[in-house]
Amino acid sequence: MDFSIAGILALDGATNGAIYALLALATVLVFAVTRIIFIPQGEFVAFGALTLAMFQMGKVPGTVWFLLVMAVAAALSELVNGLKAHQPMARLGRRIAGIVVYPVAISLVAIWAAPLKLPLLVQAALTLALVTPFGSLIYRLAYQSLADASVLVLLIVSVGVHFALVGLGLFFFGAEGFRNPSFWDERFSVGALAFSGQTVIIFLASIALIVALWLFFERSLQGKALRATAVNRLGARLQGISSDSAGTLTFTMAAFFGALSGLLIGPTTTVFYDSGFLIGLKGFVAAVFAGLSSYPQALLGAMLVGLLESFGSFWASAFKEVIVFSSILPVLLWRSLRDPHTEEH
């Protein structure tokens, strides 16, 4: 290996690392606020990439029907719970409308827009608008009534959600894989290092999102409410911050992060309905590196995962996944030696 190959590998690794960073941040965020270890985070990546691919072909993406099914299911469960609790009809109606209106509206827009072959950026925006509401719907359907369950039960629910989403992904998107066109085809070279416009976009988008996340937590009331929930759920609830709305908001953000990662990764690799799992787990390894609690460490972890993967695929391409996933063991060993006693009930 010479210097230029190392440079290419490092750039490649950092680019993927930037995407893993978004997923790792989402994972840390969801765990901190809701104590849910959200295994299906990667599913949003596949949904995002495949939705854009369908728009590119001028087809109505399966996401639309998927979203409508989820919205109807969430509305039904709200209806059943509301009737059981004898809620006034007007209030129940408003709540159900609150769940259904946005998914239906964005679905109609998507159905109208799909055959028009709009510019790539508009399609990307539509994709984000379609995939993001999945977050809160998944939270409502799978987790909401279990909010007080143990971390272990929530984790097992997460693998159930993962199973269901992958199966539904196959149903709505089909088994075919797609590779999206690049957002920016320009190529640059700095010395021996050549990189594409797509790389620039990945870095800029990741940095922008991280800054936005930081501003959200530091400057906005909602962000502070989420931080309060992460520190102490009961205390936050006593201050009027509902755990449910915190959970819904967190999952919405996680879905947005996932969908955006899908858009960013789409042009660099072929994405299938089940590709998200492995991509998401790499974000996960980074989040575990951060002890599921520190955002800066998650960023660092994601970069390391990306680099490990790119150098691993150079040296032993068949074993790159083995290398990436085995790396969690020394990380855990280091964590357990550094901070052995963290019991949770």
């Binding site: 971390v151 272990l152 269901a164 199966g167 088994a175 599921l292 083995v322 996933f325």
Partner: protein
Amino acid sequence: MAKLHRYGFYVFAAVMLLLIPALPLRAFWITQLNMIGLYSIASLGLVLLTGVAGLTSFGQAAFVGVGAYTAAFLAAKMGVSPWLTLFIGIALSVVVALVLGAITLRMSGHYLPLATIAWGLALNYTMANMEFLGKYDGLMGVPPITVAGVALTDGKGMYALIWAFALAAALCAMHLLDSRPGRAIRALKSGTTMAEAMGISTFRYKIVVFVLAAVLAAISGWLYAHFQRTVNPSPFGINKGIEYLFMAVLGGVGHVWGAFLGAGVVKLVEDQLQVLLPRLIGTSGNFEVIVFGVLMIVVLKYAPDGLWSFIAKRFPTPPRARDWASAAALPARPKPQRGELLLQVQAVRKEFGGLVAVNDISFDIRAGDIVGLIGPNGAGKSTTFNLITGVLSLTRGAVQFRGQAVGGLPSREIARAGMSRTFQHVKMIPEMTVLENVALGGYLRSANGTLKAMLRLDRAEERALFAEAEAQLTRIGMAHQMHELAGNLALGPQRLMEIARALCTDPALLLLDEPAAGLRHQEKQALANVLRQLKAEGLSILLVEHDMDFVMGLTDRIVVMEFGTRLIEGTPAEVQASPVVRAAYLGTEH
């Protein structure tokens, strides 16, 4: 009913091993039953791990893979006897489980499943890329197992072997759960503090139960390799690992038979769905995962105890047969002489960041005394208590107990020295009976390990443990409630049960953390009588308490704390007369 419980297993075993082979079943059904048996063994491991110990693993399929690949590689390529490969496979899985467990089990419970996901994925990719393991095609030509000169070449031959192993595993698991190490494992689920205070090394038992789960998986894999006569990486992937967990959850993650029921239901339903769903949808694909995923969520929401609990509800467990009347006594420690210096607390200090919760507290306890530790809310009483018993670590200071420095030791070592405690918020195992909960206190006075328990070689000592537990319950007047589930007791009896459990450790010093909190007047009186009786029997007691009347009428001496410091120490009369104490509790006049 009691008969059903006693003989149920043997009836089931007879049906599986004698009746079914005699029926003219088609080969298809024998194959199905074989797969159910294999799945049951693997998910039984998850029942022990998840339902009983409160840990979980997504790597169960990977451990099955370790067993299967070891068997296939050594038997097909090296010509090693299958009976030898069984032990090699088990040994390999034990090593892996020890490494993974040692790395993750000191941390919060969710690191083990995360590590097993990563390890399971890594192992699966390794299997699929290794030349000598046949890459994605796997290994073929695995020889059959030979039992007493007969080669088990068909499904029917393997059926007997698979189900013999499955039933033996179930029997061992049931024996284990009703034993000294079994109770220690069952205690893991409700946190480690209480178990450690009873002298149990929770880390050790977490490792034990994880290793057991891995061994069961490896056995299942060994049988699988010789049943299919070929292995490839796909049935050992992460999805299968999740499916094993689903079987355990669906069947009933807290019951041994839940694993069998879950494996049976999942296997049969899966076959139906694999035919039905693609026909319904019009294209082929693994659509059954949708149903499994949704079912998993629904089960955890609406029936977290799984399907077996509906069966178990119809057949309530009969009370334990009282077979310990003539049991030998458990070993007892030499008791201190009345008046001997028992406990010396020397300037102990605890800081949480900048907050000094306990500020250089010192006091002594002599054998035969009841000492009260009182003070307003937030004075640091319970923290002091946790420092003495090793639940919290000391920032500074020393604790001497019977001449031995115990400050800074883990709480199970302090329990071994002869200090035993109760908790401000009752800590118990609600799904065990009162008797079994109290028997947990006898842990350090007994010695039988996991293997002996599984083979049922522990009965003499078990009888001694239950005899002691019953004796302690009689001592505090609760013998009539010994067969009730601890979780069904009211708060007062629960607190008394904790005292009985502490007494079962044969303590030289008993530490009670707010024993009267939340009790009704009559319950308080009953508790005071029990404590007076214990004192009369020569026991020394340290009491943290809020209730003034309760403390004043009971103690020989009182230490008063305020804001982490010692305010005064004296007899109840002196403390009652003290203006500083009055000021601390009621405030000063201005």
